[in-house]
Amino acid sequence: MDQQNEQVKKPVPASVKRRTANRNRAMVRAAVQVLFFVTMPGAFVAGFNGIKYIFRTMGAGSVLEINSFAMVLIGLGGFTVLFGRFFCGYVCSFGALGDLVYWLSGIFQKKILKKRKQLSLPKQALPVLQKLKYLNLAFIVLMTAAGLMDSLQGTSPWDVFSRFTALKLPTADYLPGIICLILILIGMAVQSRFFCQFLCPLGAFFTVLPIMPFAVLHRDAPNCLKGCSACKNTCPVGLKLETDGIRNGECISCGKCTGVCPKNNLQYPADVVFKNEIIYALFRAAVFFALGVWLGLCRFL
């Protein structure tokens, strides 16, 4: 009783406030991810089908039409131009799978193996490995334009994953894809956002999209604490946050860094309007939900 009274009287220290806000933000993000995982697990595949459609059609020299896959691509792209890669941070089911696996792997390593720090790849290696996804995108796009994609039937880990989200089991001709998915799951357990950072062809396309100045986080670097690198250490995609704005297309708008900054130096321009970061995240989630339903991504509506 006494203790409680004391807590009420004393002003809550900033660090405690930050920790609470952080936990709330993480919980809201997880809830949004679960919601989209259940309702729109196929969104990223449909978006990438749009890219494949464009290159297949152009490879064949036919007229491009705005069909449903092309619409999904335009929708996801337009959303990312306006709001940054919020889709990757909060909506994409494969990204959410990566977060889940990495989180479980962390619990396993800390609680069962009694490790103090979760295993991860050396930070210097990340920017180099992150370039791999462009090769992956280029390879798939060229194969599609050449009309050779059908010969790779069964190798896509996404096809296997989408079988699971449809509550079905993949058939035996998807064996190469199953093996790829298992390797990716292992990678996900070792490095946060393993697939997103290093391999995702759709993510590679997304990196060039956040063009609006208000789509990206802004960092007031001159105001930083000397020697502080809290934001960098918490970033799941290992961003070096040394510049003023985070113009880097790798940023998945997860908002983790904004929560750890002791000086509240990282902000979206829209935070001025929304006052609260969580409300802004919920706003973007609501916008995407409406968009997704309209694009035919929701499996229930």
Partner: protein, 151 residues
């Protein structure tokens, strides 16, 4: 300059979009020519079909008995069921009965298959890339309905 980055990116995007314009123009021209050719071919084929149908009518060789038949097959996220109407020995209508397991964006992709099947009066159509499961579900469901329709 504060907005240099932004302006560069916008310009790049405009360039990429601009590249689609001549492509679309060229592809449309090509498609028009092909459509003309195809129209000619279709005319000849239609005439052929008419002749064949008259012969068939005389001998009644359509493999299907008139009626309405249902078929079901496994699609992407559940069963796809269709209703096929045979009239005068021809497939005259294919209706989707239950496609609740398919995502709407994928369903829109495979709708063109219905027209193709009516046109060709059969199920020998290519699946739609990117929507393989839904395509196969639809084709197999129609196949099953047609099997029931066999005399």
């Amino acid at each position: 300059m504060k907005y240099r980055n932004f302006i560069t990116k916008v310009l790049c995007f405009m360039l990429v979009f601009a590249a689609f314009v001549p492509y679309q123009a060229k592809a449309s021209r090509k498609a028009e020519e092909e459509a003309e050719n195809a129209a000619e071919i279709a005319e000849v084929e239609a005439a052929n079909r008419e002749v064949r149908r008259q012969m068939a009518d005389a001998e009644k060789t359509s493999p299907y008995a008139d009626g309405v038949y249902e078929g079901t097959a496994e699609g992407f996220g559940g069963p796809v069921s269709v209703e096929v109407t045979i009239d005068g020995g021809d497939i005259t209508e294919i209706r989707l009965l239950d496609v609740s397991g398919e995502d709407p964006a994928y369903l829109m992709q495979v709708e063109s298959l219905l027209d193709r099947m009516l046109q060709t009066q059969g199920v020998d159509v290519d699946t739609i890339s990117g929507a393989t499961f839904t395509s196969k579900g639809l084709i197999n469901a129609v196949t099953e309905a047609l099997r029931k329709a066999l005399k």
